[in-house]
């Protein structure tokens, strides 16, 4: 990519992994990226010092109000920052909103140059989102497996049976009730632990 199209991008995001993903992708296209954790006072100074062409910021960041006030208030700031809202491209706007990306650009910057940067950010934010969902799912599965082990252990103790028998019981109750084994394990734990505490 020719150096002429390189832009200075300030990335404001508290999710360090996500920020690293966006930074890597933008840097590989030749852009200069400055990363920043959210903090309203230092954001002011960061923008003044680095004069970014584009600011990519987590849509939920409380710093957005600070950023928006700068273009209106800091007359000494030579580069007014405006919210990127491309009315001609509602699809990008919707995608940005869904992914949680907000973008601010220097007034007058050609929108097509900015759009590629925003597209990169949207893709990485989405990738991070699905990565986190996968991770949450894996964590839940692990937690469920632990609950099932615990339920089996309690059944073995109370019914004097072996592990295989305990698992068969859990599965039978689950089939009878039309529930998942993890749900049955939870009620088994509630009941048997209650008995243990009561005795």
């Amino acid at each position: 990519m020719p150096a002429a199209s390189a832009l200075k991008v300030l990335l404001v995001d508290d999710e360090v992994v996500r920020a690293a993903m966006v930074e890597e992708a933008l840097a590989s296209e030749g852009h200069q990226v400055i990363c920043h954790l959210t903090s309203p006072a230092s954001l002011n100074d960061m923008v003044r010092r680095h004069q970014p062409d584009v600011v990519i910021i987590d849509m939920e960041s409380p710093d957005r109000d600070t950023l928006e006030s700068m273009s209106q208030l800091n007359r000494e700031n030579p580069k007014p920052v405006v919210f990127f809202a491309d009315e001609h491209d509602p699809d990008t706007m919707q995608a940005a909103l869904k992914a949680g990306v907000s973008a601010y650009v220097v007034d007058g910057l050609v929108q097509s140059r900015v759009k590629t940067i925003i597209d990169v950010a949207i893709t990485r934010f989405e990738a991070f989102q699905s990565m986190r969902q996968e991770l949450d799912k894996a964590r839940n599965q692990l937690a469920e497996r632990k609950r099932i082990e615990r339920a089996k252990g309690l059944l073995m103790k109370h019914q004097g049976c072996d592990e295989e028998e305990a698992y068969r019981m859990l599965r039978k109750i689950a089939m009878d009730r039309g529930q998942r084994i993890a749900q049955v394990a939870n009620s088994v734990i509630d009941i048997l632990e209650g008995l243990e505490k009561g005795s």
Binding site: P40, A41, M59, D65, E68, S102
Partner: protein, 342 residues
């Protein structure tokens, strides 16, 4: 009660920013007034006014507790692409405070009196005597807010100029007390409970209130897009009626405001930021937070005159003018009056 058609929507999502003046939507939800209208409302706390604004514009929220000037700024396309907005009813009047850090209030000998100009003049005199020192940094909540214009008004009273004598930045309300404690800001103009919290924690001192500067000014409104109102007129009427019921309920018994404060103290709303309040002070000087009273919640374009003047001034600096038809449409009392005559 059944003269209004059934709401087109039975589930709504409304945005709010944690402030005492989000009390009416909270009371309408927790007190069952939305439920009486057949609407289940989820209140979603937002981290920034910009985020709340974008979600309402994109339809991710049905409506929101908004800064009174925000619907006008959105309709005019200030700060983002234009989006036609309506403010069919107010949610509060008064409630903002101007607070200086203990150190600055002490140094400038600025204190709260009946005259808000007194503290402004004290600060102005102090700054002129010590102009070589670092400029104090003052926070307000959002460029298009009463807080911004009231802070500008107060600074004017002390002949203090932003950029020359002080720096002004925006910061979301829940951050101002900590920012003042760690020295990031030296003053702020923010809605309650954040001003009284700064004082209760010994971080700052109240030197003026918005009720002194602009008595009974419209502070928060219900903000909805015009296209939403077109699609869901009965839902709007029922939401407004529930909010009015909440306001009447608050006014009907002093014990109700204590109940409201308990609800506001729940974690999804204001959480521990109200733990310093012994009671929910309604219409008490000097802050005079007002949520109830005859026609108190009726919108009116003439009541927005202060805001209109500042917005016009801002637009002129960019070669535009405030369009008064947009102002009149935004704050038209037509929906409110329709409901009142039911």
């Amino acid at each position: 009660m059944n003269d209004i058609p059934k709401a087109e929507l039975d589930r709504l999502q409304l945005g709010f920013v944690p402030l005492l003046d989000c009390a009416l939507p909270v009371v309408a939800r927790e007190g069952g007034f939305f439920a009486e209208e057949g609407i289940e409302v989820t209140l979603l706390r937002q981290n920034a006014w910009a985020t709340l604004r974008d979600k309402v514009a994109a339809g991710l929220l049905d409506g929101a507790h908004m800064l009174a000037p925000l619907p006008l700024a959105m309709s005019l396309g200030l700060g983002r692409a234009p989006c036609d907005m309506l403010a069919p009813m107010l949610l509060s009047r008064n409630g903002n405070t101007i607070v200086l850090s203990e150190a600055l209030a002490d140094a400038a000998k600025a204190a709260l009196t009946d005259d808000p100009a007194a503290s402004a003049r004290a600060l102005g005199d102090y700054l002129r005597k010590h102009h070589q020192a670092a400029r104090p940094r003052l926070a307000m909540v959002y460029p298009y807010s009463c807080h911004h214009y009231q802070l500008s008004h107060w600074l004017d009273l002390g002949h203090i100029r932003p950029d020359r004598d002080v720096d002004v930045i925006a910061m979301p309300p829940p951050q101002v007390v900590d920012a003042m404690r760690d020295g990031t800001i030296d003053g702020f103009c923010v809605g309650e409970p954040w001003g009284s919290l700064a004082e209760a924690e010994g971080v700052g001192r109240l030197v003026a209130t918005s009720a002194q500067l602009w008595p009974d000014h419209a502070e928060k409104v219900l903000g909805v897009t015009r296209s939403w109102v077109h699609r869901y007129p009965a839902t709007l009427t029922r939401v407004m009626r529930a909010l009015l019921q909440a306001s009447n309920w608050l006014a009907s018994d002093p014990a109700h405001s204590d109940r409201a404060l308990e609800w506001l103290a729940l974690p999804p709303y204001l959480d521990r930021s109200v733990s310093h309040l012994a009671h929910f002070a309604l219409d008490e000087p000097p802050i005079r937070q007002r949520l109830a009273g005859p026609d108190l919640l009726r919108p009116d374009p003439t009541a927005m005159a202060h805001v209109a003047e500042y917005i016009d001034q801002h637009m002129r600096s960019n070669g535009r003018r405030l369009d008064h038809d947009t102002l009149a449409e935004c704050y038209s009392p037509v929906h409110y009056d329709h409901l009142a005559h039911q």
